[in-house]
Symmetry: C2
Subunit: 224 residues, 2 copies
């Protein structure tokens, strides 16, 4: 039925994937850094088999790159990759917003979205970067869920550019953040009003804004 979630990873492979993922998210493994099997087997207490399987799956997720006989490194997307990825997220999340608006009366969709709106309103004031990041992720994730298209959620989750996210969110200041929240509210209201067109436009504008901000990141963060 459902996939497993954070916490109860059953197999060693899954646990290993989670460990490496969190290492990348938390910045313990930096973009471009080599991931040497011998080290990882020691750190994570797994043998090479499951470890290699885990690395292989992370390649498919775009978090890791492998070159034959040279090993695995934490992925370092180029500027072009980032721009391309955000361009796709614009259309995909735009679609998600439109679908969510069209399905607002299905199940408890409206209730969940209202709850999200309240949550945003509450944390609006003095907001930490970490709070903003988790709020942001929850917001986008919710809309993908409400779109009713499970493939959509799966695909976008593969386009998170996780190796750059922390760096990205550190560069934007409070004004930009509250601006972003305002856009979230606008999207939310359009969805709650059942106005698919407006929701899609608002979401696309929101992500286009993000693309502009991403262009300002320093060169050092990007790869070939």
């Amino acid at each position: 039925m459902e996939k497993n979630k954070t916490g109860g990873a059953k197999t060693v492979v899954e646990a290993t994937i989670e460990a490496i993922k969190s290492g990348i998210f938390e910045g313990r493994y930096a973009p471009g850094q080599r991931l040497i099997e011998a080290d990882l087997t020691r750190e994570l207490s797994v043998s090479r088999g499951p470890l290699r399987e885990a690395l292989g799956r992370l390649v498919a997720d775009g978090l890791v790159e492998i070159e034959p006989y040279r090993g695995a490194i934490v992925a370092r997307p180029s500027r072009e990759d980032v721009a391309n990825t955000l361009q796709l997220r614009e259309v995909l999340e735009g679609l998600a917003a439109r679908l969510a608006a069209e399905r607002i009366e299905i199940g408890d969709n409206r209730k969940r979205l209202v709850a999200e709106r309240d949550a945003i309103a509450k944390s609006d004031a003095g907001l930490e970067v970490a709070t903003f990041m988790s709020d942001n992720e929850r917001f986008h994730g919710l809309i993908l869920k409400l779109s009713g298209n499970s493939q959509l959620a799966r695909l976008v989750s593969q386009m998170q550019l996780p190796t750059l996210q922390t760096a990205f969110f550190r560069t934007i200041d409070q004004k930009v953040r509250s601006n972003s929240l305002a856009q979230h509210r606008e999207i939310l209201n359009a969805i709650l009003a059942g106005d698919g067109g407006a929701a899609e436009r608002a979401m696309r504008t929101h992500i286009a804004r993000t693309s502009e901000l991403a262009k300002r990141l320093p060169d050092a963060l990007f790869g070939a």
Copy 2:
């Protein structure tokens, strides 16, 4: 073993992936069929390590599903999965067509597209199913390439529903096929004319048509 096939897959893992993939494409492994490691190691002359790694990557590609302690089976997407996937391909390939039109004067894009138009014109007449399939794949692949967004090509290639493709193309008759070719020509001309809007609309219509056809597939092909 020997030096191997198309493209030059270097490692055993890659060769194994190719072997299983082609097996699925050619229908030698049917949707829902169990893929037992012991059998595959014998058939492909690889050991379990690389084999498991290959299966893991195929999972990420959506061609195979793995349930712990129960093994791997060839993926059997549900009707809903198929509908969702095609909905996404509609927006993604629509975007690709638009971008391709906007970039028609870049590099040798126009030349490549003209060559494709000629190729289509030539094979138009008495067309085999196999010919149609490869023409179709080449056409869609070319437009993705010409879009200039490499992420786009990568993403769509993960949404091929390969386990259903052969079955799908067998169900459609000659009239539908030549109809499809006509749509291809329309898309092509819009791109060559540099009309992004028209190209996107034509492509979206084309894929929406495909969605309609997919709905007519028999229940037996789909999974939970």
